[in-house]
């Protein structure tokens, strides 16, 4: 998996490309933790380049959301493919995550 980190407005966008599987999930967790350590508490994950996620990736999403729940924090997901959305729905994650159709729509409210 490739992760590109860009600061946009008030937030930090991590653009993800590849498969978020058992092997890649720790990389994603480290990347998110690095952003938080740098002081950014508004993080958007752009899933445009992701067609596959397993429970290893879901675990990272849930752990990150739990860390970014204070007033002023934001943690969002955008541009989910049908395949990724299907797995999030099966896991019951769509009710606890902020999911946006596009980067612009996510960041507009931040």
């Amino acid at each position: 998996m490739e992760i590109t980190t860009v600061t946009r407005g008030n937030g930090t966008v991590l653009s993800l490309a590849g498969r978020i599987d058992t092997v890649a999930a720790p990389m994603l967790e480290q990347a998110i933790n690095r952003v938080m350590e740098s002081g950014s508490r508004k993080i958007l994950l752009d899933f445009s380049g992701v067609s596959y996620i397993s429970s290893g990736g879901l675990r990272v999403l849930l752990a990150s959301a739990k860390k970014l729940k204070n007033t002023g924090d934001r943690f969002g997901l955008c541009c989910l493919s049908a395949d990724v959305l299907k797995v999030l729905k099966l896991a019951g994650f769509t009710s606890i995550f902020s999911i946006y159709p596009s980067e612009g729509e996510a960041l507009a409210g931040w």
Binding site: D21, T22, V23, Y52, S54, S55, A63, K69, L90, A91
Partner: protein, 138 residues
């Protein structure tokens, strides 16, 4: 192409992509849709990861994955010599509560049940054997 290949891997999560790649190759050759391939890749990844993390507890061991594909269905048998454990005995995870109450983990087996058509477990000859079946729609 051999349509019932077996892959033996050491208990290392880094080996899982080799398994899912082989599964994709076999299923593509049998004309399965991308959706069906992704579903079974997810189930197999979850099952193998579970064996490595919970069965062998991060220690040494081997996992054998046998893929038997026909025109109508594909069956994947996953065998290990970790202590006997039936993953299908686990309760369904909480998928309803809010973020604070939601526990991390426990989703793997649930996802397997959702994306395959049939899953069975038995312990025989000192081995845990989990069998997953995905049928071609129609």
């Amino acid at each position: 192409m051999d349509r019932s290949p077996t892959l033996e891997i050491p208990a290392d999560p880094g080996e899982i992509p080799r398994v899912t790649a082989m599964l994709e190759q076999v299923m593509q050759a049998c004309g399965f849709s991308c959706d069906a391939i992704q579903d079974l890749q997810l189930a197999v990844e979850e099952a193998v990861a579970n064996t490595i993390v919970h069965g062998y507890r991060g220690g040494a061991g081997d996992v054998a994955i046998t893929i038997h594909a026909t025109e109508g269905a594909v069956e994947v048998r996953i065998e290990d010599r970790a202590p006997p454990f039936n993953p299908l005995s686990l309760p369904d995870p909480d998928r309803e509560s809010g973020l604070d109450e939601r526990r991390i983990g426990g989703l793997g087996i649930y996802l397997i049940r959702q994306v395959v058509d049939h899953v069975t477990y038995h312990f025989s000859g000192g081995k845990n054997v989990l069998t997953l079946v995905k049928r071609k729609p129609g």
